[in-house]
């Protein structure tokens, strides 16, 4: 559904000196520098997949999404989305994709959301009966009923995002680009948006490419993640392997009835407990070993927090 090959994006940014002298100089000599936002990025996504697109601020995530949606032209490289070259913004292409940006909105500010829905039905030239059915389905799933007739400006951020999602999906696109759809939302609203995206993906079979800084979004929604930093690909694979490869393994903590020894097999003592960080494959053997060697009072096996895994990955490679 999405095929990206050796994608590059270089921005030319004006360089300005500091202070008054810098401003005056920039009037006469325009110094520019090139910033590489995306570097040789390649990946492909199959129809119906839900993929998390991760990276630190300024990693090139939004730039990539905009290139895939057809808003930005790459400096070089190829991309094919739903069989189209996005640059042309062919109406047939626009009817098959949607881009939701958590920080930009398309809802008509002073009118109720129902009017934006009507506008989008008209703009996308949708079959009225079918579009009404989709609209009703979205209203039910997102529980929009009480919000439909209130001006958008009177809605909370979470309510607006739910309406934004509905407006963006009325034309039943095959590809959803979601750029931080949960940004700024409270925990409950985040949960609602998350559950909705999963449900919609199940129902419609649409492909989802999602960026988020909330790891709970990624953990709940994306079996596969693509990590970029400095515009380049750092990791592309299953989410569970990411923790395995970069998280330093799972953390096995054994609390003993008596005082724990300084070391025991793979374990060392930390804060009075025996702790070992191991690849998944070695966890069972280590637990078995500990159970036989010491009197165990409590035992826990923890996944490394995704945030830690990612900050380690970003720090290591950037």
């Amino acid at each position: 559904m999405i095929q990206v090959t050796a994608l590059n994006k270089v921005y030319t940014v004006p360089k300005r000196g500091e202070g008054l002298w810098g401003s005056i100089r920039s009037l006469f000599s325009r110094e520019v520098e090139e910033v590489r936002a995306v570097a040789d990025l390649s990946f492909s996504i199959q129809a119906g997949e839900r993929v998390g697109f991760l990276g630190p601020n300024g990693a090139g995530k939004t730039t990539t999404l905009k290139m895939l949606a057809g808003l930005l032209v790459p400096s070089s490289g190829e991309r094919v989305v739903a069989g189209f070259d996005p640059s042309k913004r062919d109406p047939a292409f626009l009817r098959r994709i949607t881009l939701v940006m958590g920080q930009k909105q398309q809802l008509l500010w002073d009118l109720p959301p129902i009017e934006t829905f009507a506008l989008n039905r008209a703009l996308f030239g949708l079959d009225e009966a079918e579009a009404r059915r989709t609209q009703d389905e979205l209203i039910e799933l997102l529980e929009l009923g009480p919000l439909l007739n209130r001006p958008v400006r009177n809605l909370s951020l979470g309510e607006r995002m739910k309406c934004e999602l509905a407006a963006a999906l009325l034309h039943r696109p095959d590809v959803l680009f979601l750029d931080e759809p949960t940004i700024g939302l409270d925990v409950r609203a985040q949960g609602t948006v998350r559950r909705f995206i999963a449900e919609w993906n199940e129902r419609s079979g649409a492909t989802v490419l999602l960026t988020s800084h909330y790891m709970a979004d990624i953990a709940a929604l994306c079996p596969r993640v693509i990590v970029i930093a400095g515009g380049a690909l750092r990791y592309d694979g299953p989410l569970k392997d990411l923790a395995e490869r970069y998280g330093g393994g799972r953390k096995v903590v054994v609390r003993t009835r008596d005082e724990a020894p300084e070391t025991l097999g793979p374990f060392t003592r930390e804060d009075g407990a025996l702790v070992a960080r191991l690849p998944s494959a070695e966890v069972a053997a280590a637990v078995d070993f500990a159970l036989r060697q010491v009197a165990v009072a409590d035992l826990s096996i923890e996944e490394p927090p995704l945030e830690d895994v990612l900050s380690k990955l970003f720090a290591e490679r950037s």
């Binding site: 930005l72 640059s87 626009l94 009507a118 703009l123 996308f124």
Partner: protein
């Protein structure tokens, strides 16, 4: 696209209603022709000026007020705002040209503008009943056609200056310069008929009169048949030039937007 137009007009009207307070203020801030009317009325009190008495003065400025409001555009502010804040991005991802959307938005506010203007018109008619005239059918028809061209030129001019926001932070400043020149050269503040001959000749070669004075003079029945056709022909030429320039600036701007993003 045509199927979507009725919905676009309906929603544009709903937006205009939502912004009604703002719209009333806009209409009231653009009542300079009324102020001009009172000033020129006093001047004409002494005796006809260039053949114009108080009735002709009132007729001219009332029509200026009406034509100005029913051919006005505000797309320069819409474009400026949406380009700077990134609001244009979602518009570019709809299968309809953003400018078609703005055209519909512009046209759909006209009925409400007319309603807001109505009491002002009634007031002027009550104050100077002698302004009432019986227009010839041909001047009325040509005047209406001319008003459509006036709107097209005004809209295209605003698209040109609005699209400059793709390149510069100063696009609204540049538009204000254009607006200043327009106020002086379009017949908005004084009838061009009363301008010195050299200025009148010069203005015949500039676009400003095509956006206001031409339809006003036609509707007021102040233009002879043979001059009328020349003035409307000039409007057609300016419309082609402005629409062409608007398309060019827009396309170059969008290409830049695609290169640097927003």
């Amino acid at each position: 696209m045509f199927r979507a137009f009725p919905t676009l007009l309906r929603i544009g009207f709903a937006e205009a209603v939502a912004y009604r307070a703002e719209l009333v203020i806009w209409v009231l801030t653009a009542t300079a022709p009324l102020i001009s009317m009172f000033i020129w009325d006093r001047v004409a009190e002494e005796g006809p000026l260039g053949g114009w008495g108080q009735g002709e003065m009132a007729r001219y400025f009332l029509l200026t007020l009406i034509v100005r409001h029913l051919t006005s555009a505000w797309v320069v502010w819409e474009l400026n705002e949406n380009i700077r804040t990134g609001g244009l991005s979602p518009m570019l991802l709809r299968p309809m040209h953003p400018l078609v959307f703005f055209v519909a938005q512009n046209l759909s506010a006209m009925p409400l503008r007319a309603v807001i203007l109505a009491p002002l018109i009634v007031g002027v008619l009550w104050w100077r009943p002698e302004l009432v005239w019986t227009p010839e059918p041909w001047t009325l028809l040509l005047g209406l056609v001319s008003a459509v061209f006036a709107w097209a030129i005004a809209f295209a001019a605003q698209v040109i200056f609005g699209s400059l926001a793709f390149f510069s932070q100063q696009s609204l400043g540049l538009f204000n310069v254009y607006f200043g020149l327009w106020s002086l050269g379009s017949g908005y503040l004084f009838p061009l008929e009363l301008a010195p001959d050299w200025l009148r000749q010069l203005l015949l070669w500039l676009p400003f009169r095509a956006t206001l004075a031409t339809p006003v003079e036609l509707l007021a029945g102040l233009v002879a048949w043979e001059d009328a056709l020349g003035l409307v022909a000039a409007q057609v030429v300016w419309a082609v030039v402005f629409v062409g320039l608007a398309a060019m600036t827009w396309n170059l701007g969008v290409r830049r937007h695609e290169a640097v993003g927003a």
